[in-house]
């Protein structure tokens, strides 16, 4: 029962202080970025009025906020995903799930979706932060939506990769470091590819998120994200099945 697994993952997440601390920390960082950008906007507001077709508050405040959120998510996802399978293996609780009438796919999807529910909560908080600007002016909802979708897909990619790396080891810490390394690697590709515009440019998650960040919902990026998620979920299922077959 996939719902049972999602519920269990969420309750496990929220009975540990880790999830709360990460949520609080993330809110703190993002609220600070938000206020800094707001401050900057208020300073240059008078100058903006003099140019034709000036960027609005959405472009000046919210886009950088989501870009920052993407980096913060990159840092915290390994901490959340590390225990998903590594800890089950370490505590020998995987046997409970495997002997229950659920398929390997259900187990992996349940864990993945459980983490995604958490990320949806995170994104909702960021969107709520952005919506607070409605008190002082109008927002570009298209850009906000594109950013939210982009961040959701990006978080899903992080979660899928983290889940896969967690399935490789019995040590949560190693899973966390491995996932962080892999995610940083994918980010670095972006920085390296920035100049050359070569093939490696297509592999960077952050680069694809950049399109969403600018308000461009690109089907190529969506396809890449979905392929990335599916690939790592399938690899996780294969890994767990392989353990049953050969381990």
């Amino acid at each position: 029962m996939i719902v049972a697994i999602i519920r269990k993952e969420l309750s496990m997440l929220f009975i540990s202080p880790l999830a709360w601390i990460l949520l609080a920390l993330m809110q703190l960082v993002l609220a600070w970025v938000f206020l800094v950008r707001l401050d900057a906007f208020l300073e240059i507001q008078s100058q903006l009025l003099q140019i034709a077709n000036p960027p609005g508050i959405t472009e000046i405040i919210i886009s950088p906020l989501f870009a920052m959120a993407a980096i913060v998510l990159l840092m915290i996802t390994p901490l959340l995903s590390m225990r998903l399978l590594a800890e089950e293996r370490r505590n020998h609780t995987l046997a409970l799930l495997i002997s229950a009438p659920v398929s390997m796919t259900d187990i992996v999807l349940g864990k993945f979706l459980g983490l995604m529910v958490f990320f949806v909560a995170v994104i909702t908080l960021i969107v709520a932060l952005s919506l607070s600007l409605l008190m002082g002016g109008a927002l570009d909802f298209g850009l906000l939506l594109s950013n939210a979708i982009g961040l959701f897909l990006l978080a899903a990619c992080f979660a899928a990769l983290g889940l896969y790396i967690s399935s490789l080891t019995a040590q949560p810490v190693i899973a966390a470091i491995g996932a962080l390394g892999a995610l940083l690697g994918l980010w670095m590709i972006d920085l390296a590819a920035h100049e050359t515009e070569g093939w490696s440019h297509y592999f960077s998650l952050q680069k694809h998120f950049g399109h969403f960040n600018q308000g461009l919902i690109d089907t190529l990026s969506i396809t890449y994200f979905i392929l990335f998620i599916v690939t790592f979920l399938v690899l996780t299922i294969r890994r767990l099945d392989g353990e049953r077959l050969h381990g």
Binding site: L96, S99, A100
Partner: protein
């Protein structure tokens, strides 16, 4: 003649040979039919058998479908020629097991004889290199989910989440085994009472003593009233009183389900089991009922020593 007519939903794999067991079976159905998943399963495999019981004569009329199923169908678990290789090393080699409803089987063997590997294969935690496993007539390798619904498993190390309370954990186990929402609270109360956990519901599992953790492990394995219960060393680390209680519980479980238990304590087998199988270096070297052993007049300990020390 006054005849009462019953409609009976029957699995293709379960059968009734005597009138007595028929009643037992009907009661079981009643208890379980509240479970939505069970109903669904029944509908899938259903063989509707109609029979009538005459009140004057205890004659039972059994339909054709029922007659076709012979006595062997009361077997709940059957494993044929199980093999498991790790590289070139054969941990388990051509082991066959059969278990009937209402039977407690003791699996004995020295360390590394392949007991745990066998049990992990029977519960789908490990795929056998060769051989077949059927649980209630459903092939474990072909239809793992349907077959596992009939299984309860307590591994050597109880699979417990230290951060959960006993109630949370058992509710999760119940949901995982598709116990319906309506019955889950009753089931939880029952299982806690059976395992002596009534006043521990709100305790964190991590704070419980080893004995209580073991009980939670057993509770988890029986919460969905499975047909086959597999317990890997259930009495390890318990004090003598707890051991006695757990043995009593296992005997109770053995009335309605089939139980396999592995252990190193020979007296446990003698007090709990109906049948004993001894494994040695991956092979099954003895399969005998305890009554049979008593008739031969050889104590279990002698048999065990003879069979597992023959190399030295």
């Amino acid at each position: 003649m006054f005849a009462v007519e019953y409609w009976l939903f029957l699995y293709a794999d379960k059968s009734i040979t005597t009138k007595k067991s028929l009643y037992v079976f009907m009661i079981e159905i009643n208890l379980k039919s509240v479970n939505y998943w069970f109903l669904k399963r029944i509908l899938r495999f259903v063989v509707i058998v109609r029979f009538s019981v005459g009140l004057n004569s205890p004659r039972t009329f059994v339909s054709r479908g029922l007659c076709m199923i012979d006595k062997t169908a009361t077997i709940t678990l059957s494993a044929q020629n199980l093999c498991r290789n790790y590289g070139s090393y054969a941990a388990v080699d051509k082991v066959s097991l059969q278990l009937r409803r209402g039977e407690v089987l003791g699996l004995l063997g020295s360390n590394g004889a392949g007991k745990t590997t066998t049990m992990r294969m029977l519960t789908g935690n490990l795929a056998p290199s060769a051989g077949s496993i059927e649980i209630c007539g459903i092939d474990l390798l072909d239809k793992p989910q349907q077959a596992k619904a009939h299984l309860g498993f307590l591994p050597e190390i109880p699979p417990l989440y230290q951060d959960m309370t006993v109630d949370e954990y058992l509710l999760f186990a119940a949901r995982l085994h598709c116990v319906s929402k309506q019955t889950v609270q009753t089931v939880l109360g029952n299982v806690k009472q059976r395992c002596g956990l009534e006043d521990r519901g709100k305790h964190l599992i991590g704070n419980l003593s080893k004995g209580f953790q073991q009980r939670v492990g057993i509770a988890q394995a029986i919460i969905h009233s499975p047909d086959v219960i597999i317990l890997d060393e259930p009495t390890v680390g318990l004090d003598p009183n707890q051991i006695r209680e757990i043995r009593k519980l296992i005997r109770e479980l053995g009335v309605s389900s089939s139980v396999i238990l592995s252990t190193h304590i020979l007296s446990e087998v003698e007090s709990v089991c109906d049948r004993v199988q001894i494994m040695h270096q991956g092979n099954m070297v003895l399969d005998e009922t305890l009554v049979g052993l008593q008739q031969q007049g050889t104590p279990l300990e002698t048999v065990f020593t003879q069979l597992t020390h023959r190399d030295e």
